[in-house]
């Protein structure tokens, strides 16, 4: 998988509601961005929250992504296609990312169990902490 470019060019701004009903979409989106070797940037990203948006060059606010019907799998495929056109054509396919996301969820669930998280804590987990666990547990794609 060829790199998308400089660190600057790899930043992806995610503008997605943080309501519980959007959580499956947001988490699938975060995973997809990370799996594609891009840097997710969101408004509530902990220490980075004060970062000026002008530095975030790619905006996947929803206007640019085709309809996904609130379906995480379809969203992953849409993102894969959109990144392929707009950032780097040499990225994993939507199917591969979706499989990897499912496998990550199995590892994530086990990790939460080992660490003693209850379901409310998992559901209400901050985006920053969720991203921490994605980086920790996901297996990068083979090139």
């Amino acid at each position: 998988m060829a790199k998308a470019g400089s660190e600057f060019e790899r930043n992806v701004f995610i503008n997605c509601p943080f309501d519980p009903e959007y959580r499956p979409l947001l988490r699938a989106m975060l995973f997809t961005v990370i799996y594609c070797d891009l840097n997710p940037r969101i408004a509530t990203e902990g220490a980075d929250s004060g970062e000026v948006r002008i530095k975030k060059i790619v905006d996947i606010s929803g206007n640019d992504i085709e309809a996904h019907d609130d379906d995480p799998e379809r969203l992953v495929r849409c993102l894969s296609d959109w990144f392929g056109v707009n950032i780097n054509p040499d990225l994993p396919s939507g199917t591969r990312i979706w499989h990897a996301y499912n496998e990550f969820n199995a590892a994530f669930e086990k990790e939460m169990e080992d660490r003693g998280y209850n379901q409310d804590e998992i559901d209400d987990m901050s985006v920053a902490r969720f991203m921490y666990f994605v980086y920790l547990l996901y297996t990068p794609p083979e090139e």
Partner: protein
């Protein structure tokens, strides 16, 4: 946090060696090791507490895998990362395992420590094998090799269901219905091709897990 390290190894590397670090992390995970690997590396921690980051990185692991290169030694932050690991190794039972990536001179603090040499290895997989052996020898028990490749996932796809071995690139079978996928997974359990089946919901999360006796 308990005193037992959560991770077998933590990877320390320069941004320039990010690709090698990701590949090595993947190879080690395939061998069943738990890997602390932050792909963004230390250099992206501008404005964050580096001490806190390193404390977490090293206190939660048993081995520091230091990917030593010209780039690694040229950055003050990665040098600080190395010094922190060396200090921890001197004071505790923490282990350091350097992996030399290029012809750089090993720093004094690493000269008395046996290291792996990527230049003399036929592949990164060989380096991963050597790390696996070191970690297994230290712990006295080998992690199950490739455990995740025995696990099977049933994954929802548009108008279909995948039956897929974890870590493999492609699905083993794609069938029309969830019940057909479950039936196939049962056969894999019965013939010993897998030890655990993980069934996923349509949002990707886990619905249930089961094995031969559960």
């Amino acid at each position: 946090m308990t005193n037992t390290p959560t991770y077998d190894v933590a990877l320390s590397f320069a941004q320039e060696n990010r690709k090698i670090a990701s590949d090595l992390a993947r190879s080690l995970k395939k061998r069943g090791l738990k890997v602390f690997h932050d792909p963004s590396g230390t250099e992206n921690l501008v404005g964050k507490d580096l001490h806190q980051h390193l404390k977490q990185m090293y206190s939660s692991s048993r081995f520091a895998i230091i990917l030593v290169s010209y780039a690694y030694l040229s950055h003050s932050w990665t040098q600080f990362e190395l010094e922190t690991a060396v200090a921890r190794a001197r004071e505790t039972t923490y282990h350091i395992l350097p992996v030399r990536l290029d012809h750089c001179q090993l720093p004094g603090s690493l000269k008395s420590i046996a290291y792996l040499d990527l230049r003399k290895s036929s592949s990164l997989e060989e380096v991963a094998d050597a790390i696996f052996d070191n970690v297994s020898a230290e712990s006295g028990e080998a992690p199950s090799p490739y455990p995740e490749q025995q696990r099977v996932h049933i994954i929802s796809r548009e108008k279909a269901w995948s039956v897929k071995y974890e870590g493999r690139k492609k699905a083993w079978r794609v069938v029309d219905s969830k019940s057909a996928a479950l039936a196939l997974a049962q056969t894999l359990l019965l013939d010993g091709s897998t030890t655990e089946v993980v069934v996923h919901k349509t949002d990707g999360s886990v619905e249930k897990r089961f094995g031969l006796n559960s």
